[in-house]
């Protein structure tokens, strides 16, 4: 059972008020962050935009930006001193906080890198070496989801296919109705991969929450299946994981797990962690940018990849302070984000007469909402054009997904919006989107009308 369900336990918030932060209880010793404080923390966001795409680039509150700037200044004042005395302990502190957050057993298992894209390169480069050095046979398999993130797919091409590996994609249904559908497809792909034992499946790359279309994958179950079926290693790409869904390394059981902290965990761009379960075969993970720390373990290598600004990595402890200002801390935030995005998704689908891409329990703080068929979304290019049009003409920022009709499908929804909900969002953001689409429909707009 996927652990991401945990945040749904407990009472649902039926408060339909546009203001979502709870007012502080007079009797409690400390008060939680107020709505006006939240607004202030995000006052640098462009006020003209309904920013319902936290999933792409995340957000960073003003107090964290300020903390980051202090760190930057510290460095600029006396960089040698910073390098020799402050940097390493600071990174270790961040890693220690993350280790606790994700329930890793050893801090050595936690490395800090720029982003999930970098983490993927680290894990996959090791696969390339294994092929080059003959530990893997040509034709050995890597499995990934069809909806794997574009960068990860390319990374697999660069480091696995080019090295002689064979890549198998798990075709996932979308819209999807239950985790069983996903598990079923995964098993099928694994069978294909193993080819009756003729070859080994060396690596499974599985998203915790797919990007486009966005769905929460039953990751724990899939990892279990991988173990049963003799897959060497499992790499979970949880770019959206931390701050969005439950992230527990013991519970999930993967060999490698990466998540961006700048998406849903209020860090400035950019910082991510790569968890690598302690085992003999994980000794040869290396950061591709080699410094004098080469060979001292991935965490130490990643803590120095040449002169650059490490402040986003050093500010992690401050983010924990920020998150504690919310009722329930990060778990409270996750739960409220989830409840709100579901509510907004349902509101939009109802207003447009469309459907959601998955049931609420298969999403976290993002949800796919079908767009009216009259918009005529019929290609990936259409989605980009529509997105640009919504940004430029309606002040709405939201990514659009094209879902091609399969053979013999008629009248299916071909366009979905991926809406996000984060603490700075308000109901008005979604009603603005609702009205924009209604306007377009009313005007007889189709994507074909947009020039390239």
């Amino acid at each position: 059972m996927a652990t991401h369900d945990n945040h749904l336990n407990g009472e649902t918030d039926t408060n339909s008020n546009t203001h979502l932060a709870k007012k502080p209880k007079l009797s409690s010793p400390s008060s939680f962050i107020t709505l006006s404080e939240i607004q202030s923390e995000f006052s640098h966001h462009d006020p003209a935009i309904a920013r319902i795409n936290n999933g792409s680039f995340g957000c960073c509150p003003a107090s964290i930006i300020e903390a980051q700037q202090l760190l930057q200044l510290d460095y600029l004042r006396q960089p040698d001193h910073f390098y020799f005395n402050n940097l390493k302990p600071g990174i270790l502190e961040s890693r220690t906080f993350i280790k606790q957050l994700i329930n890793a057993h050893h801090v050595d298992e936690v490395s800090i890198v720029d982003n999930a894209t970098t983490a993927a390169a680290i894990v996959l480069q090791r696969v390339a070496w294994a092929f080059a050095e003959g530990h893997f046979d040509k034709g050995d398999v890597a499995i990934m989801l069809h909806y794997a993130y574009g960068a990860v797919k390319k990374s697999i091409e660069a480091y696995v296919t080019r090295a002689g590996g064979c890549v198998i994609e798990v075709q996932l249904p979308f819209p999807v109705n239950s985790t069983d559908e996903i598990v079923h497809e995964f098993r099928k792909a694994l069978e294909r991969g193993k080819e009756n034992g003729r070859r080994r499946v060396r690596l499974a790359v599985i998203d915790h929450i797919t990007s486009m279309p966005s769905v929460v994958i039953p990751i724990k179950e899939l990892v279990g299946i991988c173990r049963e079926e003799g897959v060497d290693q499992v790499f979970v790409d949880a770019a959206h994981g931390i701050g969005c869904t439950d992230v527990d390394m013991q519970d999930i059981g993967a060999d490698f797990y990466t998540s961006n902290l700048h998406k849903w965990f209020f860090c400035p761009p950019s910082v991510a962690f790569l968890y690598s379960r302690r085992s003999p075969s994980c000794l040869d993970l290396h950061h591709p940018v080699v410094s004098h720390e080469y060979g001292n373990g991935l965490a130490v290598e990643s803590a120095w990849i040449g002169t650059r600004d490490y402040s986003s990595q050093l500010v992690v402890p401050k983010v924990l302070e920020f998150v504690k200002r919310f009722e329930g801390g990060i778990d409270g935030i996750k739960k409220r984000n989830h409840d709100n995005v579901v509510e907004m998704g349902q509101m939009l689908a109802k207003a447009w007469g469309t459907n959601l891409g998955c049931p609420p329990e298969m999403c976290a703080s993002m949800i796919m909402v079908g767009l009216p068929a009259s918009l005529g979304i019929s290609s990936d290019l259409d989605t980009l054009k529509l997105r640009t049009h919504l940004r430029g003409n309606f002040g709405v920022e939201v990514p659009i997904y094209y879902r091609a009709p399969k053979d013999e499908e008629v009248g299916v929804t071909t366009g979905y919006a991926r809406i996000s909900y984060q603490v700075y969002n308000k109901v008005e953001d979604y009603t603005k989107f609702r009205d924009a689409i209604n306007q377009l429909v009313c005007d007889g707009f189709t994507c074909a009308l947009l020039s390239k």
């Binding site: 640098h44 966001h45 462009d46 935009i49 920013r51 795409n53 792409s56 680039f57 995340g58 957000c59 960073c60 700037q69 460095y75 600029l76 004042r77 006396q78 960089p79 040698d80 001193h81 390098y83 020799f84 720029d114 982003n115 999930a116 894209t117 970098t118 993927a120 390169a121 480069q125 070496w129 080059a132 574009g150 960068a151 797919k153 390319k154 990374s155 091409e157 660069a158 961006n260 700048h262 400035p268 761009p269 950019s270 591709p288 940018v289 080699v290 410094s291 004098h292 720390e293 080469y294 060979g295 990849i305 040449g306 002169t307 650059r308 600004d309 986003s312 640009t388 940004r391 920022e397």
Partner: protein
């Protein structure tokens, strides 16, 4: 020093940046204000390690950062790429590259080394028994990168000694020829030569144009110039230098915030299309410049401030050339002052340095290991407020006459002093006096 006579680069280098008509140049007090964030009370004579960034460039950077945070999607779709292109175009002109496709922006020289070496390593999967040549004093990260990508793939490394102290380019050239011949012995093929434009420790300006030429004569397949210190320090003309790959950090001597570097990849080099950024994004296969312009979500603002840097630099008399010339003159002057005060000598003649200089430390300090050097550096920082890297030079020939010495013994320690626009003579006096104090009061502590 007139740029036409500058022996460090050879022929005419076209000044490519247009200088706006100025009413006046930057004043002393404006300059102090630009670097007012530097810690007061520290004699910061180590610009070479981490560089510096003036307040106005930092302000430009913060402005870009804010724009991203305000509306990141818009930034990504409409702002980032055109402005990266703008930075690249300015650099292309600065270094006299022929095509903008030859110019990529990366974080630092360490990243560039990984890019170049990863590409070499891929080719080596098929060729064993081939060699890579580099200087023994190559930057430690580059040495490790060679280990990670080249040695691991089966090739062997031949190290060239850098004579130090050194008195002329011909010494370096001779040593390099020897190294090359060793690398070619037993019919081996030299796949790559890595040549520093300005070595890090000990720091010397290498006759890079001559060495690249020799590499071509001797059939070296690819030449990679690690010019981490070059831009803002010496004039750069990639046509003159003639290497296949050339990298320089902009945050060291060219006033960029941490961190940004350019990697030049000559178009005519057949492996240039096989050169990739190791962090693979959806841009994979679209050419290194485009790959490097998007390696996942991160803060690209240091790559966007090149126009602001040029504005800053052009506030100085003579622009970048003027700054380089004055830095060179001052560091030579300061080096000489220190050597005279201590009774020691310089590591190289002034014409073999740019804005850094190696100054012999008194033998009485007994710097007899790398650890001693590190300890002395920390001591100078913590007790005397002087920031300067120290180099340990082990004697090669025992007590022979060719060894550098002062009145009391062998010179085994050198300080690498830097001069950048924010430095003042007091910084070097402070250093001079600190060393004199240590000798007077603390010499027994160094043993």
């Amino acid at each position: 020093m007139d740029k036409e006579e500058d022996p460090r680069n050879g022929d005419d280098h076209v000044t490519a940046t247009k200088k706006p008509k100025l009413i006046r140049f930057i004043t002393d007090s404006e300059l102090r204000s630009e670097f007012s964030h530097h810690e007061a009370g520290v004699a910061r004579i180590n610009n070479g390690s981490f560089g510096c960034c003036p307040g106005s460039v930092l302000a430009a950077q913060r402005s870009w950062q804010l724009r991203f945070l305000q509306q990141p999607d818009h930034f990504y779709f409409s702002t980032l790429r055109p402005n990266l292109l703008r930075s690249r175009a300015l650099i292309q002109t600065l270094i006299n590259a022929h095509h903008i496709d030859e110019v990529s922006l990366v974080d630092n020289a360490t990243t560039a080394a990984a890019i170049v070496l990863q590409q070499i390593g891929r080719r080596y999967a098929h060729y064993r028994n081939d060699t890579v040549v580099m200087f023994r004093c190559a930057f430690p990260a580059v040495k490790k990168s060679i280990q990670a990508y080249v040695t691991r793939a089966g090739a062997s490394v031949v190290e060239v000694d850098l004579p130090f102290p050194v008195s002329s380019n011909s010494e370096i050239i001779a040593e390099f020829r020897k190294g090359l011949s060793r690398a070619k012995s037993d019919s081996r093929k030299v796949r790559l030569a890595i040549i520093d434009h300005i070595t890090s420790m000990p720091s010397v300006v290498i006759p890079v144009r001559e060495l690249v030429h020799i590499c071509r004569e001797e059939g070296v397949e690819q030449v990679f110039v690690d010019a981490a210190h070059a831009i803002g320090s010496v004039p750069i003309d990639v046509q003159q230098i003639g290497a296949d790959f050339y990298v320089s950090n902009l945050y060291k001597w060219f006033f960029a915030p941490p961190s940004v570097a350019f990697l030049y990849c000559r178009k005519s080099n057949p492996s240039s299309c096989e050169t990739h950024h190791p962090v693979v994004s959806h841009e994979y296969g679209n050419g290194l410049p485009v790959e490097s312009s998007w390696i996942g979500t991160r803060d690209y603002t240091p790559h966007l401030v090149v126009p602001a840097i040029l504005e800053f630099v052009n506030r100085f008399e003579g622009g970048s050339e003027g700054i380089m010339r004055r830095n060179h003159e001052e560091v030579a002057r300061m080096g000489k002052m220190l050597a005279e005060a201590w009774g020691t000598s310089l590591g190289s003649p002034p014409e073999m340095c740019a804005s850094m200089m190696m100054v012999g430390l008194p033998s009485k300090l007994h710097v007899s290991s790398d650890d001693d050097a590190t300890r002395l550096r920390s001591h100078l920082r913590d007790k005397y407020g002087v920031e300067v890297p120290i180099y340990h030079r082990a004697p090669k020939n025992g007590e022979s006459e060719s060894e550098p010495r002062d009145e009391h013994g062998l010179i085994t320690g050198y300080a690498r002093i830097s001069h950048q626009v924010y430095n003042r003579i007091e910084d070097y006096y402070k250093f001079r006096d600190a060393i004199n104090r240590i000798i007077l009061e603390e010499t027994n502590l160094m043993e």
